[in-house]
Symmetry: C2
Subunit: 431 residues, 2 copies
């Protein structure tokens, strides 16, 4: 809902958040419609949900003049807006708790369609509501605030339980295989014959494969709808495919389930009792930030050095100025020296370094934009990779730190300290 | 287009990329419909564009079995799919250039609706096309690949010029004011009276204000549609409001236009000839990565130290272990010592430090999750801020590095080295 999503000012993360939650509950999200903050357009979109069992709306419940969702939903439902005095008192109390008087403009946040049931918002002033829309075949419409964390909280704590009561929900069994280092086409060629054969197996007749390519990764998603009269355990039948799929996805596969590459690496380091540090040039902290996005990563990550300028490479990382001079900052010898330097400076078991040309400037014929060297050093062995990446600055940097994690993963696998089939804490239970 | 957008596996950034491009061209994006990879559903969504002047489709042009967009668009247009031999040769040549033979499954990427005009894809195998759909009132439908960089490239280099030829496009004049440190309601209260008054001015009768809150920032967007017979320069009329808006948004405002906070800080440092470094604990590189997302930031950013573990705070940053012991890692004295240490270790003019509790664990009654200390030190003065942030780990970290940039900005302003009205290179020309 909202102009900011259509003008390109805001990316619609609420749509994917709702989509993921629906899938986990066993609701198929058929379509998402984003409309402008205009009463008639919002109302028309809601009335289109006649063919749906449920409709979710988010955004436009704020206090400002472009927040018109309550009015539009009332219009769709063919009822008036009514001021709810109890809701008004709650909003005033929320402001009072923050030490403010409620501004007059927030009063409209207590206006709801006459037939609505209010859904509480424990962390914001925009309360949600549910209303049945006769013009959409009585479809229940759940309206949530647009602020992502308020929407997620309201969905999880209020709406999901209500949906579970209202409908008999069965999530579709699915299994996700995660890879970095092979393209979508290459993986598809290896996997499609396995999927085709598997469709002969009881319970997997409807087996469906999706490919989710998000540079530099590809996720392979298998889904199988259980047939109504089947006694087959589809979860188990899917799991039976693991060995063949794994084999087909080597050496790119690093995990099964929802756990990200960073989750897997942090988990494996933790199990092995190893600590890691970073030395980053072109990514300039992106790798450290990615590792520490994993809660609990302080158990394995000590820190690192962002050596954007050469003076920091020689000063804090101890890279030999002669090596820098001879080979240039983007080179295997410098990446090796950076990893060695970070390991020494932090006293960790291993270190990983990244040095490259993210662009748009700085490239040359010999070392074009996208040239990146990554090095993992564990005191014994250097694992080194030279990448030739494509895309803009953001993509080169993102691919660089993802590849750095993959190299750490590969080194841990080579030492017998990690494997795809080990199950990290964060791995999704097969659902 | 696509199941992965509906299942929550992928965030739909293409929608906002298309939205921003349309706005800049002067096309109003009325609605976005996301549908599953089903022929009938794609086709039905396209046929809904009868009330539109143009329709954009992205995704589903790949080689795998769930890529069905060409077939669906042919269905919507009421024509057959035809193999285009010239396109096939181009795709084979692209594989050959990468040193591969084209897999058989990629052949379908040369199938287009019979009445389509092919749109070349210089950086991928999925070529796009344009087709007029009689069932949608002859609406021209532009179909692009789903890979974001391929879509953006095709839109910018092929489709935008075609649109400019086909339509007489006039972008709506708009002006963006950017703030960090005040909430949406507080800004709205200060701004709405100014907007109301401004609507009396010639050329600004249709003045419209939007608020884009993306924690911790709020953007205020003013737009005014020129009336057809007006001779007023709406751009200039909008610009006339600057002084009053700026005043109303103090002390949170840091810029006007598209330039981000990082853009502004990097630009101001560059103009002042100052270099900066970072010392990050809870953000662990996120601040460095944000600064260096700005192309050319190597002119002002030397690097930094990620001091996640206390041993790195005392070792590389020289924080007194006694101070750590007495005040705890998340405290003003430690933040000050970190900034001093980073400045000394890197030899930069100024340094900025962040230490905090990002959660979910690590909080206490005295220092709950979301407690963050930020310190800017320029050799003379410490500018310090203690934050009490809300939200999850990701939000606390994001707000922390955005606030760190704002403190650097504030310090530069205090020294007369930056101001809102200075125009950075990256500032959008008023459009």
């Amino acid at each position: 809902m909202g102009d900011e999503l259509l003008s390109g000012d805001t990316v619609n993360t609420n749509a994917s958040d709702i989509g993921a939650r629906c899938r986990q509950l066993g609701i198929t999200l058929d379509r998402v419609i984003t409309v402008r903050d205009r009463i008639e357009e919002i109302s028309a979109a809601i009335r289109q949900s006649a063919d749906a069992d449920v409709c979710f709306v988010s955004g436009g419940l704020g206090p400002t003049s472009d927040d018109r969702t309550a009015e539009a939903v009332a219009h769709a439902a063919g009822v008036e807006l009514l001021r709810d005095e109890a809701a008004l008192a709650r909003i005033e109390a929320k402001f009072a708790a923050m030490g403010y008087e409620m501004p007059a403009m927030n009063r409209k946040q207590a206006d709801f369609p006459a037939t609505a049931t209010i859904v509480p918002n424990p962390i914001g002033t925009a309360e949600g509501f549910m209303v049945s829309v006769p013009a959409a075949g009585g479809c229940p419409v759940y309206v949530m605030p647009g602020v992502p964390r308020e929407m997620r909280r309201m969905f999880d704590s209020e709406i999901a339980p209500a949906l579970a009561q209202r409908f008999e929900l069965v999530p579709t069994p699915r299994r996700i295989y995660r890879a970095l280092g092979r393209g979508e086409s290459s993986l598809a060629r290896a996997i499609e014959p396995i999927v085709e054969q598997a469709r002969q197996l009881p319970g997997l007749e409807s087996l469906f494969v999706h490919y989710r390519a998000t540079s530099p990764q590809v996720l392979v998603v298998l889904e199988a709808e259980p047939t109504p009269d089947s006694t087959v355990d589809v979860h188990a039948a899917l799991r039976e495919l693991d060995a063949r799929i794994l084999d087909a996805m080597e050496p790119a596969i690093y995990g099964i389930g929802d756990a990200t590459l960073a989750d897997r690496v942090v988990d494996a380091l933790g199990r092995a009792g190893l600590r890691i540090s970073t030395a980053e040039s072109c990514t300039a902290g992106g790798l450290g930030a990615t590792i520490t996005a994993v809660p609990g990563s302080s158990a394995v990550f000590d820190g690192g050095i962002i050596s954007y300028a050469n003076a920091v490479k020689t000063g804090l990382l101890g890279v030999d100025p002669q090596v820098l001079e001879t080979h240039g900052a983007v080179s295997e010898p410098v990446a090796r020296a950076m990893a060695e330097g970070a390991r020494k400076a932090t006293g960790t078991d291993l270190s990983v370094s990244i040095t490259g040309i993210a662009g748009p400037g700085g490239g040359s014929a010999e070392k074009p934009v996208g040239t990146v060297h990554i090095d993992v050093f564990d005191g014994e062995t250097h694992l080194h990779k030279k990448l030739k990446l494509r895309g803009n600055r953001g993509n080169v940097r993102h691919c660089s730190h993802q590849w750095a994690l993959k190299l750490v993963w590969d080194r841990l696998c080579a030492r017998g300290l990690a494997s795809v089939l080990s199950s990290p804490n964060s791995q999704e239970p097969l659902s």
